[in-house]
């Protein structure tokens, strides 16, 4: 059972692991099943991140337990569906968390760019 998302601070769950962040981002554009998530993450990272199913479903278990995602009841037409498949959807709280994490990462990147190091690398 997903926990109530109201009244919880997304900051409590930060930082996310990179893999968890990728999965949440993959769900940001709509409901996806596991295989679709794996493909999406692979495509976004140019093939550098290949999630194994063991890793993926460990993350999904956490997302469900923490109320960041729920199982979606909307399924494709019977002809295209594999009934064993599960579809997942980001909850509003999940959206808050992934936004918060994105903001946190941005801040970090910004801080890094402001240093001499970055200017040296660029030059």
């Amino acid at each position: 059972m997903p926990r109530q998302s109201t009244g919880r601070d997304p900051q409590d769950l930060l930082p996310l692991t990179p893999a968890m962040f990728h999965v949440l981002v993959a769900l940001a554009d709509g409901d996806r099943h596991g295989y679709a998530i794996i493909q999406d993450v692979s495509a976004r990272t140019g093939g550098r991140v290949q999630l194994g199913t063991g890793t993926l479903y460990g993350i999904i278990k956490r997302l469900l337990a923490d109320g960041l995602a729920i199982e979606s009841k909307r399924r494709p037409a019977a002809g295209e569906d594999d009934e064993r498949r599960r579809y997942y959807r980001l909850t509003p709280f999940g959206t808050q968390v992934v936004s918060a994490e994105t903001a946190r990462l941005e801040e970090m990147v910004h801080a890094a760019r402001a240093t001499r190091l970055w200017r040296k690398v660029k030059a």
């Binding site: 479903y57 460990g58 278990k61």
Partner: protein, 844 residues
């Protein structure tokens, strides 16, 4: 169209099953669907996937375990009374096991020698009779052509040697080693060196290697190397100290040191090794060769047997019995905790049903229950380990001093492994019992009512547990009772002779002639009898249970037979109050020139003639020794049997010869002291020896009672430990009985309330409850006695004065158990008789 799945896919599915049931149920199907979605895959893909699943398997199981542990701890905190009781019982159960195993591990299981499986004792056969003694020339043959052996070395006992450090002190536990013995046993010294060939010849300077305990006794300083200790007035240089735990090939716990065997005693005053015609040999078999195949390859006449200490044989039975008893105690504790858990799981039935209804898998419930019980068991084992660590020294102090490797007894890694194993076993036993019960939980029924049927079933199961507990504890109780009776019989107060007020002192006149010996001892006894505080003094080469024996051979009907012989002064039997059954005692008239006579014990008399009427009978006695001739002797008396040995308690064939007719150089001097004047008498004994021979160093006189007490130390240890274990077993079983009957009363509060309301008397209710408890006890006692019949025979050879199936012991233990059972039902009886009918009926 269905395609046959690839090997990778099949392997993947197999690995998926390793995931925890809950996780597999939630995601297994989706995972399989995901990997099959894109058609055929490369081997690299499957490899990555399978690795990913295996990582998930570890992670998810660890996660589940973490949750189970948290849940278990919460449950334990919720019922602190139960938790404390369970932990205490399991602590006692594992504690006694850990303590006993520590001892068994050090004494029986662990060998101090590297590759001990290659070591063997060499035996030699003469006329088809294998003995442990090998003639010296055959030993040299074997050493020259060792066949399947890599090495062989001889050892023997050193001559009675004495040290003059401060007060003269007896050092008679010296062994003589070939230099090669240390190599055969593969044990280097802790300090200094062992012998080389240069130390091992008649002209060599005398050297000694000390045992660790003796070195500690002499101060335990490294500076001792190179310094001299005085043995038989001969300065002997200490060249090495062996490590702790090394006690020679026979593992004699009290061995003090080693001398090179090749350096002989030169005169009575010298320290060295007696040069005997035959030797004890220890050999190392070539690696990889079994003892059987090595035996087959041995030169003719030689054979090999596993190297084992005779002391080990003495303690093997006791330790095996005690290990059995401690295992029983642990099992009783487990059954008890299991029974209590059963009650709790019944109380939690609704909770479990609710969780099943909410989708918890049964395997998850099983894991949770087992985890909870394992937590209890490990908490108990930890407490038990700590308690053992604190009490082990006291337990070891009860052990006889000659048990080898006492200083090696410790809570070590193997003991820890046993504790963990015992805890795991305890947790499983205690946890599976309530599980058998909760398997029948069905939400539909158990959520609607607290099912009576399941309570009844659990009631039966729980009663069966209590019956088993009572049965096990009565087995331990009977064993303990037999052992305690043995101890009481063997105790020096009732050994078949009277050791009270007797002081003993061993005197040995090295190098004396028979005439000289006879004269010396005659003068000594005369002085002693005139010493204040001493009523009488006699001498003998042997006394019952004394351990020092001489063997002679007697010819009965043409067949020679070995028997214990004793050379005694005339008043010896009178002094020890050993009753004469027929004939006469020795007298001063039985002197060297008079007719050779003999007194036998009843045992030997009945061997000579079945009717035992042997007075006047003539037998030929050949005393042991190199230059003795067979002498025909007339039997003049028959003595009552006494115990001859302290551990093996059957009377043996014994023959007694007047000392005057066979004067040997050593005797036990036995003085009968006046009560309360022992110290004075002992000082008098020392003074008498000093007055006659100032140069003679003898061991301090000591009370015979103390000496005999040491001789039965194994029995005393067994009686103490088994007694304590029996008390523990009965106590735990009584708690189990009280708890079970208490539960029965709680279940029937309503029924009892109705009975009281209808006019049942307090006595009637008491009888009702008592009957419940005693029925279980009686059944348990019956089962237990039946088991004991099969078990007590393992005590044969260790018990004395009572048979393994002694009806009195069985009956006594049964009555005792019944009384304990009746007492333990007291609390539930109080509970039942105080039921208020109004409250009881309202509650339902």
């Amino acid at each position: 169209m269905t395609r046959r799945p690839s090997i990778g896919a099949r392997l993947y599915r197999a690995v998926l099953r390793l995931l925890p049931t809950d996780f597999h149920g939630d995601f297994g199907g989706a995972m399989a669907a995901d990997v099959e979605a894109a058609g055929p895959r490369s081997a690299a893909f499957w490899w990555r996937e399978i690795r990913s699943i295996l990582a998930a398997v570890v992670r998810e199981h660890a996660d589940a375990l973490r949750q189970d542990v948290r849940y278990g701890l919460r449950m334990m905190r919720r019922t602190p009374g139960f938790t404390a009781m369970a932990v205490l019982m399991l602590a006692l159960g594992t504690g006694v096991n850990v303590a006993m195993f520590s001892i068994v591990d050090a004494v029986l299981l662990r060998s101090p020698f590297p590759r001990a499986d290659e070591l063997a004792a060499v035996r030699f056969s003469v006329k088809d009779r294998a003995t442990s003694l090998v003639p010296v020339d055959r030993y040299h043959d074997l050493a020259a052509a060792p066949g399947p052996l890599t090495s062989v070395a001889a050892f023997g006992n050193g001559l009675h040697v004495l040290t003059g450090q401060g007060d003269p002190q007896n050092v008679d536990d010296i062994e003589c080693f070939d230099p090669a013995m240390f190599d055969v046993l593969r044990t280097p010294p802790k300090l200094g060196r062992t012998f080389g060939p240069a130390d091992d010849h008649p002209g060599a300077a005398p050297v000694i290697v000390l045992s660790y305990p003796f070195w500690r006794q002499l101060g335990g300083s490294d500076a001792i190397l190179g310094s001299a200790i005085t043995l038989n007035q001969t300065p002997v240089t200490v060249i090495g100290v062996m490590p702790s735990g090394f006690a020679g090939p026979l593992a004699r716990g009290d061995v003090q040191g080693w001398l090179p065997r090749g350096r002989p005693v030169k005169s009575a005053e010298n320290a060295g090794c007696r040069q005997t015609a035959a030797l004890n040999l220890v050999a190392r078999v070539r690696p990889g060769l079994s003892l059987a195949s090595a035996n087959a390859a041995m030169p003719p006449g030689f054979s090999l047997i596993p190297l084992a200490s005779p002391i080990m044989d003495d303690v093997r039975t006791p330790f095996t019995v005690l290990m059995g008893a401690v295992a029983c105690v642990l099992l009783i504790a487990c059954l008890n905790v299991g029974g209590l858990q059963m009650e709790r799981s019944l109380a939690r039935r609704r909770e479990i049903a609710l969780r099943v209804a909410l989708g918890a898998s049964r395997s998850r419930l099983v894991r949770q229950t087992l985890t909870e019980n394992l937590l209890l068991a490990f908490a108990g084992a930890t407490a038990g380990l700590v308690a053992t660590r604190l009490t082990l020294a006291a337990i070891v102090a009860l052990l006889p001093g000659n048990v080898p490797y006492l200083d090696q007894i410790a809570v070590n890694g193997r003991v820890l492994a046993l504790a963990i194993g015992a805890a795991a076993a305890a947790g499983l036993v205690a946890g599976l019992l309530p599980l058998a019960e909760s398997r029948s939980v069905t939400p539909a029924r158990d959520l609607s009512d607290a099912s009576r049927a399941s309570e009844r079933r659990a009631g039966w199961a729980r009663r069966a547990l209590v019956v088993a507990e009572v049965a096990l504890s009565i087995v331990v109780l009977i064993g303990a009772a037999l052992m305690i009776q043995t101890f009481l019989t063997l105790r020096p107060s009732r050994p078949g002779f009277d050791p009270d007020n007797k002081l003993i002192m061993s005197v040995r006149l090295r190098g004396a002639t028979p005439d000289g010996s006879e004269q010396f001892f005659a003068q000594l006894f005369e002085r002693l009898r005139a010493t204040p505080g001493i009523r009488g003094a006699e001498g003998s080469t042997y006394f019952p249970m004394g351990g020092n024996t001489a063997i002679a051979s007697i010819t009965i009907d043409g067949t020679p037979r070995d028997l214990l012989t004793n050379y005694t002064t005339p008043g010896f039997f009178h002094l020890l109050k050993i009753p004469l059954v027929a004939g006469r005692m020795f007298s001063a008239a039985d002197a060297r020139g008079s007719e050779p006579v003999l007194i036998v014990n009843e045992q030997l008399a009945s061997r000579i003639r079945p009717d035992g009427r042997v007075i006047g009978h003539r037998v030929t006695v050949q005393s042991q020794g190199s230059n003795t001739v067979p002498i025909e002797r007339t039997i003049v008396g028959v003595l009552a049997n006494t115990r001859s040995s302290s551990v093996n308690t059957r009377p043996r064939d014994e023959a007694h010869i007047p000392y005057a007719q066979f004067p040997v150089i050593s005797q036990w001097v036995v003085a009968d002291a006046l009560p309360g004047r022992h110290a004075e008498a002992m000082a008098g004994m020392r003074a008498a020896v000093r007055a006659l021979r100032p140069d003679l160093v003898v061991a301090d006189p000591r009370p015979m009672v103390n000496y005999l007490g040491e001789r039965i130390a194994t029995t005393r240890f067994g009686a103490w430990v088994l007694g304590a274990l029996a008390a523990l077993a009965v106590g735990v079983a009584a708690i189990g009985l009280a708890a079970t009957i208490g539960w029965w009363v709680r279940q029937r509060t309503r029924e009892i309330g109705v009975r009281i309301a209808l006019g049942a008397s307090r006595a009637g209710v008491t009888a009702l409850v008592l009957r419940q408890g005693l029925t279980l006890a009686v059944v348990g006692i019956g089962v237990g006695c039946a088991c004991a019949v099969g078990v007590t025979r393992y005590l044969t050879g260790w018990i004395y004065g009572v048979t393994p199936l002694d009806p009195g012991t069985f009956a006594g233990c049964a009555v005792l158990m019944l009384l304990v059972a009746a007492a333990s039902v007291y609390v539930p009886v109080r509970q039942a008789t105080s039921v208020d009918p109004v409250v009881a009926l309202k509650a339902e």
